[in-house]
């Protein structure tokens, strides 16, 4: 048969706003030619509730719960980003014990968040079992957090001046037990189950390659940037809290299974980061000093002098930044949040224009960027 006689037609396809692989309400308009995606256009804003406007109507301490709801999978780091910004603005000293507690809970939260990313990424690609394994272990972390602050997702635990409740010895023992339980799991179970699975590798290696320079230009940060081989981690490059006292490595992608910066690299950076997080938790648990867990004055009210500050911390998805402007009252004049997922997902349209990707690969790419729409839309 003569190929020229077959009539093909391009089709406009709406992926989302309700689609299981977009991890929330996110819409991509695709121009497709059969299975090939020729062009895509992302539409966000379905979850927009203008956090920044809400922040202008509440006092400094009341803003913290709003930050939980930005990236609800690693709320601790959002709390910390905001608290650190206000502390710097108001010149509040955080007690030593609180700094250690912050590292412990943040790194545990990073593990929980990466576990969810790992599980749902498997689901996106068609492997259901890893999801069940990941949720089994994530549950243990959430139980620890529940014991600590009564919340499973929106903790509001890290607050301006320190933390909300003190860490008890019982919980510290729980955390140590969790580390002992979890450390071998990553290699024994997860890597065997998914990371080095032949089908998984052929679905993710050489797919969605992001060159390092492009990633930086698009403001991609966190594991997605390190997957492209860029050595950048705020915990090491611009240490905050007590990270400069702790030992850890920054894993980066190396193109082990295909090209540098492909989906597998981004995925693997997260797996390796979990091991580093457990290492950090162990060190912090070992060295935690006695003392107060929050600045007494800041526990009740905060009133910084007029001024402005921009502070970033390394969240599970990238750099969480807060720009806070004070006019000298107890209500912030302006709070602007830099959400890592917002910048990370903006590269998607570029990736589909760089090379023609298959529809099924698009799902792999979105999953490898690990976005949370609560944070994209704020």
């Amino acid at each position: 048969m003569n190929e020229a006689k077959i009539r093909t037609e391009e089709m406009l396809l709406n992926m989302g706003p309700q689609h299981p692989s977009t991890h929330g309400v996110f819409r991509v308009v695709l121009r497709t030619d059969g299975e090939l995606v020729l062009e895509s256009e992302s539409h966000i804003g379905y979850l927009h509730r203008c956090f920044e406007k809400c922040a202008e109507g509440n006092n400094y301490l009341q803003v913290v719960p709003y930050t939980d709801r930005m990236d609800y999978l690693c709320a601790m780091m959002n709390n910390w980003g905001y608290a650190a910004a206000v502390e710097k603005l108001a010149g509040i000293e955080v007690p030593e014990r609180a700094e250690y507690i912050r590292v412990i809970v943040s790194e545990l939260n990073r593990v929980a968040s990466h576990l969810l990313a790992f599980g749902t990424y498997g689901l996106d690609i068609g492997a259901i079992t890893p999801f069940l394994y990941a949720f089994r272990d994530r549950e243990r972390i959430l139980k620890i957090f529940e014991k600590l602050c009564g919340q499973r997702l929106n903790y509001s635990y890290i607050r301006v001046g320190g933390v909300t409740f003190d860490m008890t010895d019982e919980i510290l023992a729980d955390i140590e037990a969790f580390c002992d339980y979890f450390d071998p799991k990553i290699i024994d179970e997860y890597d065997n189950l998914l990371s080095y699975n032949g089908i998984f590798i052929s679905r993710t290696a050489n797919v969605g390659v992001i060159p390092a320079e492009l990633a930086v230009s698009y403001g991609v940060t966190g594991p997605s940037l390190r997957g492209s081989g860029v050595q950048r981690d705020l915990r090491r490059d611009a240490p905050y809290g007590i990270y400069d006292r702790l030992e850890f490595d920054v894993p980066v992608g190396s193109g082990e299974m295909g090209q540098l910066g492909d989906c597998w690299d981004r995925y693997m950076v997260r797996m390796r980061e979990m091991r580093q997080s457990i290492r950090l938790v162990r060190q912090a648990v070992k060295d935690i000093p006695e003392g107060p867990f929050c600045d007494k004055k800041a526990y009740r009210a905060v009133k910084p002098k007029a001024g402005e500050v921009y502070k970033r911390v390394e969240g599970a998805r990238g750099e969480v930044g807060f720009y806070v402007v004070s006019d000298g009252t107890n209500i912030p004049y302006r709070v602007k949040a830099r959400a890592p997922s917002f910048c990370n997902i903006s590269i998607l349209d570029k990736l589909t224009s760089l090379s023609n990707v298959m529809l099924a690969d698009l799902v792999a790419i979105i999953g490898s960027l690990d976005i949370v729409l609560g944070e994209v839309d704020r």
Partner: protein
């Protein structure tokens, strides 16, 4: 290259563009410089391309409304730049008249500016000249007004959905 102090960074900018920097505030919590709005495009290019500066990462763009300034109502656009090679950062501000806030778009210089500028346009109402697709990004396409202006009043309803205030 090496990490530079804020004074050295400003010196590099002044060396190439002597009239761009109009104000330096170095004694606050975070030091920042104010750049003339007309020269922002050139300054941005210099910041990225000069190897001593090497600001390859645009971390954030924020717009802040100041309707009650002594010098007249203003809107500030704040750019937080960062370098992944030199490990230093810089905060640059551009001050715009509130009645007609216009500034050059930098989406060609840092691709991430595309969405950040759309967000600032959407919520604060700054016009970024030269942006290829300056439309609302977070609010609905037919939303009226810019919510983060200080004189913004919330609508009573939107397409029949009532605005309930508790």
């Amino acid at each position: 290259m090496a990490r530079l102090e804020i004074g050295q960074i400003i010196a590099v900018i002044k060396e190439k563009l002597p009239e761009a920097v109009v104000e330096e505030v170095l004694d606050g919590v975070d030091p920042f410089v104010v750049v003339k709005a007309e020269q922002w495009g050139e300054t941005a290019r210099l910041c990225r391309d000069d190897s001593r500066l090497g600001f390859d990462l645009l971390s954030c763009i924020s717009g802040v409304d100041y309707p009650e300034r002594e010098e007249g109502p203003e809107i500030e656009v704040i750019y937080h730049l960062d370098s992944t090679v030199n490990y230093h950062g810089l905060t640059i501000k551009v001050k715009l008249p509130r009645g007609d806030p216009r500034v050059a778009s930098v989406e060609e210089i840092w691709r991430t500016a595309d969405w950040h500028e759309r967000e600032t346009y959407d919520l604060v109402g700054v016009i970024f000249e030269g942006h290829h697709n300056l439309v609302r990004i977070l609010c609905a396409d037919d939303w009226v007004g810019h919510p983060l202006r200080k004189d913004y009043e919330s609508p009573d309803s939107f397409h029949g959905i009532k605005n309930v205030i508790y």
